[in-house]
């Protein structure tokens, strides 16, 4: 650690500068605690809003009720949990190899000029609003899949749209992680006469592993939470999907579809969807943190 605080404020600094440091320290502490308080407040808010339902609906019913029909007092969230996991997991399975491959291409295979253009393109892909992806999916992708296997609005459509959306995240973070691999590692590998792929496989990827994992986790978080685009293409039927062509509803889409119209227990049940979603993302963040601390796990 070169930039620890002991190295910055040398004891010989004038008193004036010390005061500035103190002021900045308190400003930063303030900012930091506001952010931390926000996260906790959101969790608290979700818990408080879900409480009315949790109080008189046993938790088991959210997994064992015959269906999700809040108007008829049935609150089975399990199909939406599986739908969320299938959609996000499928998108990760497709996007991770593609994203890492793009990053490797930019970092080690392309000419600097191609790399520049390619990187801009990926950044552009990252900047397209999700509702645009959803609209494209609804008017183009869903009819295409419908010709293959009706109804078209399906898990597959959701996975493809999500793949498009998280691909840039994975590619850009992977590229940043590869750039952070110390140059001497690569020069050392080259000096040993390793092939380019040998160097990537044996040196660059292991050295960048933590960064790659962090990027994938970030993408997973986005895939789980993405709402509008998914809502427009997955069909939103609450049922466990048996195949890629079955419609699914994700937890996030459930909230967006019904929140505006929900009251009482229905509303509280939607907040429970939100709480579940939040817990999933927290588990992911925890996993990313654990992987970061144990790079050799």
């Amino acid at each position: 650690m070169i930039w620890s605080k002991h190295n910055i404020s040398s004891p010989s600094a004038p008193a004036d500068a010390m005061q500035v440091d103190k002021l900045i320290l308190w400003l930063l502490r303030g900012g930091g605690s506001i952010v931390a308080a926000l996260v906790l407040l959101i969790l608290l808010f979700l818990a408080v809003e879900s409480w009315p339902a949790l109080r008189h609906i046993p938790a088991g019913r959210f997994l064992n009720d015959p269906s999700w029909n809040p108007a008829e007092r049935m609150y089975n969230l399990a199909p939406m949990l599986s739908g969320t996991l299938y959609a996000a997991g499928g998108a990760l399975l497709v996007a991770t190899p593609l994203g890492v491959a793009s990053a490797l291409f930019i970092a080690y295979y392309s000419s600097p000029r191609t790399a520049g253009i390619y990187r801009r393109l990926i950044e552009l892909l990252a900047g397209i609003p999700s509702v645009v992806y959803g609209f494209w999916g609804l008017t183009t992708l869903v009819p295409l899949i419908n010709q293959l296997h009706p109804p078209g609005a399906s898990l597959l459509a959701g996975i493809l749209i999500l793949t498009l959306m998280i691909l840039p995240t994975i590619a850009l973070t992977a590229h940043a992680a590869l750039l952070a691999v110390p140059g001497e590692y690569l020069r050392g590998a080259a000096a040993l006469g390793m092939s380019r792929w040998g160097m990537i496989h044996g040196v660059a990827l292991p050295a960048a592993k933590t960064g790659l994992m962090a990027g994938i986790m970030l993408a997973a978080g986005r895939a789980i939470g993405e709402t509008m685009a998914v809502l427009m293409v997955t069909g939103n039927v609450v049922r466990h999907a048996d195949s890629l062509f079955d419609p699914v509803r994700t937890l996030a889409a459930n909230i967006a579809l019904e929140m505006a119209y929900a009251m009482d227990d229905h509303r509280a049940a939607l907040f429970i969807s939100g709480l579940t979603l939040m817990l999933m993302v927290m588990a992911l963040a925890g996993m990313a943190g654990w992987l970061g601390r144990n790079p050799h796990a």
């Binding site: 579809l257 019904e258 119209y261």
Partner: protein
């Protein structure tokens, strides 16, 4: 940077924040109305509000969607001055005051290329409960039927279920949609789909040559004319609701919304004005 300078910045920022706070509380004094509720009614209410604002300088009218249930909720909690509700009030909601500003019908829509020209109530019921799964059974081509249903809580869904005398859990949908526009786009993109949306919205899209068509119900064509004369079986009033008998600005707005002055706006949305000419 000197500490004194930083302090000055902090003071300046504080002053800015406080200043914006002041101006916000200052605005609350001017004339403002908040409308929330049905997505069917919101575009019309927005147009009426714009015309109302241009005639009454200094008024601001804020229109937000979120469904009839939200309209009722917000009016009860006094979050909104006026609620927009796209159905008649239920018995448990009778404490509220409702003011019908227009009528609307719900129509079954198919893709324009679908050869089926009419469906009976039993056939629609069979399709939506999953006992009829192929268009061949009802005289169409040999293709699976894609059933499109609305998300829970929408008043269109309630009205439709009432008409067929079904519960939502009886319905076996392939796609569940949110608003009318999403339903129309889904049907237009799928030649074998069946859905139901507000006739106003559907007729508007048909004039813009979107690939959908409206089916007659019980032998009565789904059209604005038949909603006005009350023969179309699946129609509903579009209401503005208030917590108390309307007064002041709220009364002015509701009277304006029911008057001849906005008839063209109501008709432009393919709704049916209440005041017969």
């Amino acid at each position: 940077m000197k500490p004194a300078l930083i302090m000055r910045y902090v003071l300046f920022a504080t002053a800015l924040l406080l200043g914006s706070g002041w101006s916000l509380s200052g605005n609350a004094g001017s004339q403002k109305l908040v409308l929330t509720g049905a997505s069917t009614l919101a575009p019309l209410a927005g147009e009426i509000a714009r015309r109302f604002e241009s005639l009454h300088a200094g008024t601001r009218i804020d229109v937000q969607t979120g469904g009839s249930a939200r309209g009722i909720n917000d009016v009860r909690k006094s979050v909104a001055d006026i609620g927009m509700v796209s159905r008649a009030l239920k018995p448990e909601e009778k404490g509220l005051h409702s003011h019908t500003i227009a009528l609307d019908g719900i129509g079954i829509i198919l893709h324009a290329s679908n050869p089926v020209a009419a469906l009976s109530r039993q056939q629609i019921s069979g399709i939506y409960t999953g006992s009829i799964v192929n268009w061949k059974t009802v005289g169409g081509r040999d293709a699976p039927i894609i059933v499109i249903n609305k998300a829970e809580g929408r008043s269109t869904l309630e009205l439709f279920l009432n008409y067929l005398n079904l519960k939502n859990s009886d319905i076996k949908p392939h796609v569940i949609i949110g608003d009318n526009a999403q339903g129309i786009k889904t049907v237009a993109g799928n030649p074998n789909a069946i859905g139901y949306v507000s006739i106003g919205a559907a007729e508007y899209e048909i004039t813009r040559s979107t690939a959908i068509k409206l089916l007659p119900l019980d032998g009565i064509a789904a059209s604005v004319v038949n909603i006005r004369n009350g023969t179309f079986p699946l129609s509903r009033p579009l209401n503005l609701i208030t917590r108390q008998a309307p007064q002041g600005l709220i009364r002015d707005f509701i009277e304006f919304a029911r008057s001849e002055q906005v008839r063209d706006l109501v008709e432009a949305q393919y709704f049916v004005p209440v005041s017969a000419r």
